[in-house]
Every structure is written in C-alpha cells, then in structure tokens.
Symmetry: C2
Subunit: 556 residues, 2 copies
C-alpha cells in the first residue's frame, strides 16, 4: 500500500526536490484560504472542528497512556483546555524503538510515500489547524492559516524532499566490477540499507507550533526515525491534530500508530522535556525556543544529534533609498505583523546620525525614526486591519516586557493596549519604537522578544554595518535587511552578511518582507551564527539523521 | 587560473560524483606501481626522494614558524628524524582565519579545481609517499604504495566529490517568481554563497597517515575551510609531502600557502593536539585514533563539528561453507596483512562448539581453528611474501601487547619474532591465534590492537550472531564477516548487521578481503556504532562543513 502512496505522490516529490535545487518559487499547497481552493464549507467546518476540541478529550494511539492533561488558553481571551493523553515514557520509548524495524523495512520510497500522504491530509485540515494555530499562538487568522497551514506544510515537504534526496544519493543495490587485467574481474553484489538513528524528538514552540515542528518531524520520519513531538504547553492542539492525521495514515498502511507520538507535560509545573531529551533512545532532537534551553540541549544531550533554532537580534541597516515611502510602508507591515513575535522580526534599525538621502531629499535621523513610527500608526489605524495583522500577544510575559522596556530608549512610538474587533478579551499591544544611541549596545543587543524595536543612531553607515555584524556574531540573527542606493555600500553589507553568516534582504519596498521566507527558495536561518545551529532546510539538516549499512557478497 | 583547473578536472570530478551514486568500481588513480603507469624511473626517484628527507629539514610555508622538530623512526629499524617547522598557534591560526575570505571568494568550482589538482600532483608523488608511508607505518611496500598512494587519493577524491555535490545542491544564483493572480508576480533575484565553517583540523594516525587524512582534509578544504593537518608524531612525513604539494598548488593560484598548514608537537612529550583542537578558530575536526582521545574530542571540542574514527572489535561468524579452502586462504591473508594493524582486521572469529559443515564434510571446532592457524603459517612460510605482507609492527607497544596477550586464551598459533629479508632490524611479529570460550567476553571483546585473534567457541550460530552484535553495539566495529551456505542464516546475520550498524561481507573466499574497502563503492565505517561517529565518506561527512548564506533583492 505504501508503494501506491509513493506512486501517487512521486511527481510532486520530484518537483519538490527540483525546487530545492532551482530555488525558484514552488508551493504544492494553496496559500489562499478560499472556498475554491479548499471547498465551500471548509472554513466553517474547520472552525467547528476547532471549537469541538475546546474542553474535549483528544485521542491519540500510544502505548503507555496513563492519564490526561492540558491547559491551553487562547491569547484572544478564552480557555481551550483540550485534554491530551499523558504517557509513561518507560512504556512508550521502548515501543517506539521496537517500531524502528517496521519503519526501516518499508524502505525509502515507502516512507516517502507515507510522509507525503500525511502532508496532503494535513493540508486538507488547514482550516482546523489554522484556527488552532490562531488560538494558541495568537496569530491573526490569515497568518495562522497561511504560516500554520500551507506554508508550514511547504516547509515540511521541503525537509522531506531533502531527506529523500540525501537517502537516494546511494542506490539500494549495486554491482561492483573491478577489472583484473587478463584475469576475470572481481565482482561483488552490494546492498545499501538506510537505517534511522533511533527515536526522533521535536520540541515545539508556542508561536509557530506547526511551521517550526514539521521540518524536524518530516526530516526525522522520512529518514527512518519514529518521532515524538513534544509541543509547547501553550500550543499543543495544532501538533495534536497533525499527529492524529499522521497516525491515521500509519495505521491504514499496517504500521504502528506510535511511529509518530506526542508527549506532553502531565504537570505543566514539572516539564518533562529535559528528561525526555536525555533518554538514551532519543537520537535526533529538533528544538525551537529560547537560547538557554537550546544551549542546554546542545550541551547535555550528547547521545543525540541536536538541531536548534534559538533567539537572536535581527537588524536593518538604512543607508539611503530611492523609495522612502516604500521603505516606510514595508517596515510598518514588518514591525506590525504578529506583533513582532516572529524569530525573523527586526529589532534594531541602524540609521546614521546625519540622516539619509531619499527620493524626497535629505531626511534627518529623527525624521526617519518618526516616519517609521507614523507609518506603523497609520497602518494600524484601521481596527480590522490592525486586528488581523497584529493578532494577539501569545504570552503574558511578552506584554509585561513591552511595559518594562519603555525606559530603555527614547520612545518615538508608544505601545498601547488595543481592542480586537472580534475578541473583546484579546491580549493586544501595538509596537513600541524607541531611538537609542549606538553606544548603548548592552541595551539594544539583548533580545527583547515582542513588538519592541530600536532605531539606533550611528556615526555613519560603516558603524551601522559594524554594529549589525556584531549583533549577528555575538547574539545571533535569522535576518538582516538593508537599504542603500549605493552598490558599493550594498557590496560591503553583503560581505558583512557573509562574514557574520546571516541571510540578507536588500531594498525591500514592495510585497516581500524581511521577516518572511519562502520554502524551497529561502534558507531559513543559516546555522552559521548563534541564532541556530542548523538551517531549515538543507542537506546538513537531514544527512545526519540516518546511516547507510552495506552488505556485500560475490554473485552466485 | 583556478577556472582552468576546474575545466581540466571537470570530467574526472563528474565521474567521481557519478561513482558515489552508482557505487560501481571507480578509481581515477592507478593502483599498480608499474613503470608503465608511473614512469620508468618513478620507483627509484621516489625512493631517492624519500631517502633525501632522512635527517633533513622539510620546508613548509606558514606564518609563525618558531623552530623545528621531528623524531620519526622506521619500524624497519632506522632513524628518519626529518625536521619539520614548529609554529606558534597564536600567529598561525589568526592568519588561517584571515585566509578564509580568499578561499571563499574563489568559489565552489575554483576550490574544486584546486583540490583536484592537488590530488593529481600527490598521485605523481605516490612512490615518494609510498616509501614514506612504509617507513612510518611499517606497512609492506606494496600496501604502503597502494593504500598510502592511489587508494588514499581515491578516498580523498571521494570526499571531495561528496563536498562538491553537497555544495552544488543549491545554485549560486536564482530568480524567484511568485504568481500574484491578476497582478504582476513578485520577483526576487537571489544569491547563494557557500561559506566554510572556519578552520579545519585533521588529526592523523600512525598506521594510515594518508588514507585516514585525505578524506577530512579534502572534505574540509573544498567546502571552504583552511585546514591544518596534525599528523601522528610517528608518521609526519607522508602528510608533510602531501601538504607541500598542496601549498605549491595554492601559491601557483595566487592563494596563501597556509590555507593548508601542518602543526606538529614541538616537544613530543608535550603533545599540543588537545590545546589545538580546543582553539576557537577550529570549527571542523577529523580524528582517527584511540577511543579515549576520540571521545575526549567529541566531549570537549564543542566549538567544532567533530568526526571520529576510533577503535573497535571486528568479528567473523562462521556457520558453514562450501569452500573451506577458500575460507582459510582468505582469512589467512586477512589476518596476516599488515600484521593485523588495520582498523578493519577481524579480532574475533565465532565458530560453534559443534563445528561446521563444509564441502569436505564436517569440521570440528578445533579443526576449524587449526586450519586457520595452519593457513596463516603456510602463507607466511615464504620469507619474501611474509616480509611484504606482514610489514613491520608500527609501535613497540603493539609488540609488547602480543606478548602480554598469550595467556588470554589457548594458543593455537603462537606469534614469533621474524626476520625481514631486506631490513635486519625490522620489528616483525607473526599473528597470534588463540581459542577461547564464549563466556570470556571481557577478554575477547576488548580491542587488542595488532596481530591478535580469537577463535571463539559458541554454543551455536545463534549465539555467534548475538555475541558479534553485542561486540559491535558495545565496543564498535568497522567490519563484520560471515560464512554460511544457508540463506536463512545469512538473512539473520544481515538483519543483525543492520541493527548493530556495521558493514557486512558474506562468504569471502576469493580476491576480496573483509579488511579491504573500495573507495566510491564501500562505505568505510557507518557512524552507527561506537567505532566511528561518521562514515568515510557520505553526504553526512561533508554537509555540515559549510553553510549557505543568501542575499536577495528585487530585480532592477
């Protein structure tokens, strides 16, 4: 049956592999939540399916279930409290280890077909998952649908495609014929079997519970590792819906459901992640979250390959522009989107003290800072647009951080609590923008997660480049943006981005934003600076998740 | 100029990439040390070149040279004492770090062309290197030439080809065009630049000073990392000759010579390897050697990617055979070759207490053990053949270990000191073969490096399989061999080899030996058991040695 699935999905998989190589636009999943793409009743059905989970039990098939737990709350102001199975690791992990054999024997194409089918079914649940992402992460619905649905599925397929191509780099069998001059050649028949490393573990985050979970999940799965998802306690539901679908596909193909499992904290006050991550059965770990725990995993889970995406300080260098209005518009959306709670949102915008040249003539430092602040305010002046784009603040700690940060610089645009047009108890706070002098590095180079930005006053663009590089090298970054009309300056900034190891976006003034990256084309994180020790996704993200074991003999 | 080199070597490089994918026989370098292949005077010239190094100064171009050192001795009984430059790490490492930029800017094809040229030039020095390998490792000349010359060069090119294909998995540039329905598409021009991780370090071993050094060296180099070789103090010369050639190619191409450098211990009593390996500039480490230091590197060099090949306990399972004479002949050569000093030589041969079936009828356990012992003795009865195949014992500690091991089992074939026909002071000891009961695991499952083997008496083949698996899982192994006429038994053994993660050779009775592996076809080590955390070579061996940094902007 898994052969049928491989045949069904082979063309798409090959197209996905080709896209990772061409880096042109490719998306197997429709990003528009339209009735035409997803069906007339898809939105309503998805919303109803989400609502049916509220306060209900969520069933998953795993050995060793001991009870239930769950205490999710929507940042839009209501309780979700879905109850998920809690499991005994001493029962689950040996059973997952035992399931490696069946998962290995189904082979590369068998696993690829099954994983592709999982993604296709997950895509059909994009509305249900979209509402679940919205009400756990706090994202606005459109973003929750796109980033939590099709774009996350794209990233999952991208990782799957990399795993597939890495495994296909060796054939399943070969004949080796070595000439021996006048004598008969030496001939050996050889078999090459892909063997997973063990059990995989994917530790999710609260802000992107699917986008940051699918790559590790599908990379580990397709390469032969039964995999556990350990979602963030605040954002379990999107993972649980995905895992339920994955388990259905496994069972339909005669495989143990628990090849994909989920572990949650039975008691949120006693998180089990550290214990789980150090279990001997766990050989691959993917983590998205805070730097201290990411570093702890890297240092302490020596039995496993550990892939981490941690915190960083993203930067923008403004040197000059021939489209100041476009710059302001672009940055206003970037700073507003999901209230700055993206790992790609810029925190520090470096502007020379002497100001910049624009198509409208010279703009002073203060004029630039003011224009960006006013741009954000204007952009958010439409309450529905503000509600959709800002979403809600995921964690109370982030809201507190905004308040606590107001004294760190000179406030140009104050953050205010806002109403959401549809959810009266939503936790909404608009972006805080401050100016600060370049010498206050200790302040603006710490990561201040949330809608908190600094316009940093530098001596000149050379200093802007030096400080932005330093932020990347010392604190890590996933994105760097820049604006300049001078090719020599752009070349200098590009050189700095290569040295620091961070993806650069130049002169974005239209419909592409520094905090957005496109699967199959943009590498998300580089693995070359402290923000992440890996990239989503490339060959390095998959090649160490499996080994090839060979057997050779002379032909009969 | 590096473009010319890429064009010159492109066809061979493409053939090498294709070979890693087909796993058929491929060798760009001639393994026969014949005048026709290497020139009429190549042997004599190479020997003279080797002799000219004895007691002489060896020049390399590196910043920070402080003095000279070197105290190599030939296991064939004379002093080499070539003097190599000692360097100040505080000068060398910052200069190597600074050379990253030039090495990055020459690009993927530039680096590939230069590395291919280095290998071609190294190939031309195969006789000089062969004599240097012979007189540091103790290998017989034919093996030193082949394994230290063309076969090592093959392994270097294999790693280079993997690095090249991994880097080529992303294009250098791409245009991304995202349709926007009725609106103009979003278009971005993107650049993707391969960036090395930092400075590479390859820590060599005394027994295979080139074969185990070239893969890490060329994998790190081609992916953009200036690389230091730290040879074993007993086997510096083969590395030094190779590095000198690499430096010549770099200089001819206008690049800093020290992109490939060599560090030795200024005082052999105070090895500098641990300090060097922990330097912040070192981001990739390749190590071949003992398990404790390999584990130490993995645990303590957290700033680097660490690839290790350590010790192991290789096994043979004998269940039955239809070619007992071939089995004995094959194992006699295997146990004799380089006096068992290969990381692939079997140590434990599991045979059922009840004996085995053969084409000549039943053979008892004792008959099997005796036949292998007699086979070795007969094979070594020709003094010239014995001298060529056994070579010499590299380290005095290995000779002492043979003596100390004689009480560990019941001696079936005693090891004796032997004369070498050409070198009267050579350190030569023939293989020691003992029988032992299966329950003496603590004895035969420790690695006893050198020509020391056990024929282990097991209850039956099922126990043989269980014990061989246990040896792999707990102590590591690079090879496993087996003999059976029963397909069901072979399938069980193959399953066990997949579970334990070790390469299997079945029923070798002809001209292929369990301790030999062919570049481009056989994966050397798996990375799936404690003998090695990586394989030479596969995508996992190269993919983490570089990162891709992107830059994007809208087209004009």
């Amino acid at each position: 049956m898994s052969e049928t699935l491989f045949a069904k999905h082979q063309d798409t998989l090959n197209a996905a592999v080709a896209a990772t190589q061409s880096r042109d636009y490719f998306s197997p999943f429709k990003e528009n939540p339209s009735p035409r793409a997803y069906g007339e009743t898809a939105n309503k059905d998805g919303e109803n399916a989400f609502k049916a989970h509220i306060g209900a039990d969520f069933a998953l098939q795993m050995p060793g279930i001991t009870g239930k737990a769950g205490s999710e709350q929507s940042p839009y102001g209501f309780e979700i409290n879905t109850q998920y199975p809690a499991v005994d690791l001493d029962v689950l992990l040996p059973e997952m280890e035992a399931a490696r054999k069946a998962w290995r024997e189904i082979g590369v194409e068998g696993r690829a077909g099954i994983c592709m089918e999982m993604l296709e079914r997950i895509n059909k649940a994009s509305f249900e998952i979209g509402y679940a992402v919205m009400h756990t992460s706090g994202q606005g619905f459109m973003m929750a649908f796109q980033a939590g649905g099709p774009h996350a599925q794209d990233r999952g397929m991208e990782a799957l495609a990399y795993g597939y191509q890495a495994m296909m780099s060796a054939p399943a069998a070969a004949t080796w014929t070595k000439p021996q001059g006048k004598h008969d050649p030496l001939v050996m028949d050889k078999k090459f079997t892909v063997v997973g490393r063990g059990v995989g573990l994917v530790i999710g985050c609260s802000t992107f519970p699917t986008w940051n979970t699918y790559p590790g999940l599908f990379a580990s799965l397709v390469t032969g590792n039964p995999t556990i998802v350990k979602p963030h306690p605040a954002a379990i539901l999107p993972a649980a819906i995905s895992i339920k679908i994955a388990q259905d596909v496994l069972v339909e193909n005669g495989l143990p459901a628990h090849i994909v499992s989920m572990v949650i904290d039975e008691d949120p006050a006693k998180p089990c992640t550290a214990e789980l991550a150090q279990r001997d059965e766990i050989k691959v770990i993917d983590f998205t979250g805070n730097t201290p725990f990411g570093n702890w995993l890297e240092d302490n889970c020596r039995q496993a390959q550990v892939y981490t995406e941690k915190a960083g300080v993203n930067t923008i260098i403004i040197d000059s522009t021939d489209d100041f209005k476009g710059l302001v518009r672009n940055l206003s959306f970037t700073l507003s989107l999901y209230s700055g709670q993206m790992c790609t949102t810029p925190q520090d915008i470096f502007v020379p003290a002497g100001g910049i040249e624009t198509e409208d003539g010279h703009k002073s430092f203060d004029e630039v800072a003011q224009a960006i602040s006013t741009g954000v305010t204007k952009f958010l002046s439409d309450p529905e647009r503000a509600g959709m784009v800002l979403g809600a603040i995921q964690a109370p700690a982030t809201a507190e951080r905004i308040q606590a940060s107001k004294g760190l610089g000179e406030v140009v645009r104050d953050s205010e609590a806002m109403d959401n047009p549809w959810f009266k108890d939503a936790r909404v706070h608009s972006p805080l923008i401050m100016t600060i002098d370049a010498d206050k590095e200790a302040t603006y180079m710490q990561e201040l997660f949330g809608p908190i930005s600094f316009v940093v006053k530098t001596a000149d663009t050379a200093q802007s480049i030096a400080l932005a590089s330093k932020a990347v090298k010392e604190h890590g970054a996933i994105t760097m943006g820049c604006y300049s009309t001078d090719e020599a300056v752009l070349a200098q900034i590009e050189e700095a981005s290569l040295d620091a190891g961070v993806a650069l976006s130049c002169n974005l003034t239209g419909g592409v934003f520094v905090n957005q990256s496109a699967a199959f084309s943009d590498f998300h994180a580089t693995g070359a600076n402290p923000a992440a020790n890996a990239c989503l996704a490339d060959l390095a993200f998959v090649a160490n998740r499996f080994r090839v074991v060979q057997s050779r003999r002379h032909p009969k």
